[in-house]
Each structure stands twice: as C-alpha cells, then as structure tokens.
C-alpha cells in the first residue's frame, strides 16, 4: 500500500512539474492518468522494491553529493591521462568484493563504480564485481572499499 501511494505521489509530482498547468479540469485529467498508470503498474506487478525504492534511506542524497566530488576528481585524472603526450594507461581487470546485502545496494555500488570515470563495472558474480580500470591509481582497492562502505550505509536492512 505504501508503495502504491508513493508511486502515485511521484507520478503526480512529475505530471505537475512537466505540464505547469493548474486549471481544475486539467488537474483532474492529470490525477486520472496517474491513477490509470498506477492500475497498469499494479497489473504488471511493478510495485516492488526495484520500481518504488522507498526503502532507501534519505542519506542517499548526501551520498550523491559525495559521489559528485569523487566523479569530478577522477574525471580530472582521466583528462590528464588523455592530454598527456605519452598516455600513461595501464589497463587492468580487477576483482572487487562487494559487501552489500540487498540487490539495490549492489546496483547502486556497481553504478557508482561505472559513473566514476576511470573505472567500469564489466561483470557481476555473487560477492564480487569485475571492474576495468584505466590506470594504476584508479584500481585502488581501498577507494572501492570506502565507496562500498558508504553504499552499505545508504541501503536499508
């Protein structure tokens, strides 16, 4: 039930933000379309932790701002590699352990690794990820452990 209400609120907020109309007739149509979408989502069994991730803690926003800083730092490192005359790349495929308990935690961790320039998650297996790193500095296991710890704080349960 909480999932349904959450999805309805999110859908209606999106509708309001995109349309920008506040006439009663149009608002009614908006509510009706949101209710219809909710009915379809229910029929398709989409109301689970994946589609409506209400179980995540609000610390996710803090985590995203930390991640933004990391992304800028590593983008600067990759830019220096690109602009160097002899590009100092040493490519490696490394195994990174992931300690998160939920599937959503794994998804956030893998996407964070990919979002940071210099590292890309290639393949997943139970308990570890295969990560491609561009340079020696990017393949720093302590950095991955730090990021994994922060993701584990965000995910619930």
């Amino acid at each position: 039930m909480a999932k349904a209400v959450g999805l309805l609120v999110a859908l209606f907020a999106l509708w309001l933000g995109l349309s920008g109309y506040f006439k009663p007739f149009l608002l009614t149509l908006g509510v009706l379309s949101c209710l219809f979408t909710l009915y379809l989502a229910r029929r398709m069994n989409l109301l689970d932790d994946e589609a409506v991730p209400l179980q995540l803690r609000p610390g996710l926003l803090l985590y995203w701002s930390w991640l933004g800083g990391e992304v800028v730092k590593s983008a600067w490192a990759v830019s220096r590699v690109i602009l160097a005359r002899e590009m100092p790349i040493s490519q490696q495929l490394i195994a990174v352990p992931c300690t998160q308990k939920t599937e959503m935690g794994h998804v956030i961790f893998a996407n964070s690794i990919t979002l940071t320039p210099g590292t890309v998650t290639v393949e997943t297996a139970p308990g570890k990820f295969l990560v491609h790193a561009l340079t020696e500095e990017a393949a720093n296991l302590d950095g991955f452990a730090e990021m994994g710890r922060r993701v584990a704080e965000v995910e619930a349960r």
Binding site: V78, M87, E123
Partner: protein
Amino acid sequence: MDPATFELLRDIASGIVFAVGGAFLLIGAFGLVRLPDVWSRLHAAGVVDTVGAELILVGMMIQAGFTQATLKLILIGLFLFVTSPTATHAVANAAFMAGIRPVRLRRNESGEVIGDRSNKEPQP
C-alpha cells in the same frame, strides 16, 4: 542589488560553469578519438557523459533561474545520471562477452569472478 548587477553576476557564474563543462566535453571527445581501444574509450565517454553534461546543464539552470525550465533541466540531469552508467556498463559487458580484451592488459583477475568463461579465445 539592482537587476543589472544581478544579471552580470549570473552571467559570470554560468560562464565559469560553462567553461569548465565545455573543457571537459572537448577533452572527453578528443579522448574518444585518441585513446587506443574500446576499453579505454569507455572512460573518455564517461567524462563526457558525467562531468561535461551535468556541468553544462547546471550552467543552463543558473541562466534560467527559478522557472519551469530549471525543473526540466534537473529532470534531464537525473535521467543522464541514471542512464549513462547503465549504457556504459551494457557496452562494456557486450564487448567482454564478445571476447574483446583490452590491449596491453597489466592485470587480469577475470577468472576469479566468472570462472572458466574468461578463457574464451578473443575474436579477430
């Protein structure tokens, strides 16, 4: 603060953000041409998709102020933030499955993760 000064400050702030974002965009696009193989080019595309795109969207938000346009720009930024790592991972995973391996690979621990499948011969 009178409107002219406010507009000037806004232009300066967005100009700085645009300059940094545009520099990252150009560097990333240049890297896409310069780097030696698919695996290294993934990271250049990552620079364009994350820092470059988001910074330019932030610059446009500063230009737009508190309007509906800013809301739509935030939504575009959110879409890019969620979809770009997924697309990059899809390309990397597809290339890995097709047997393409990085050139001059220093360290390869793919056997630890996926077992025997890593011994597949690379395609020509």
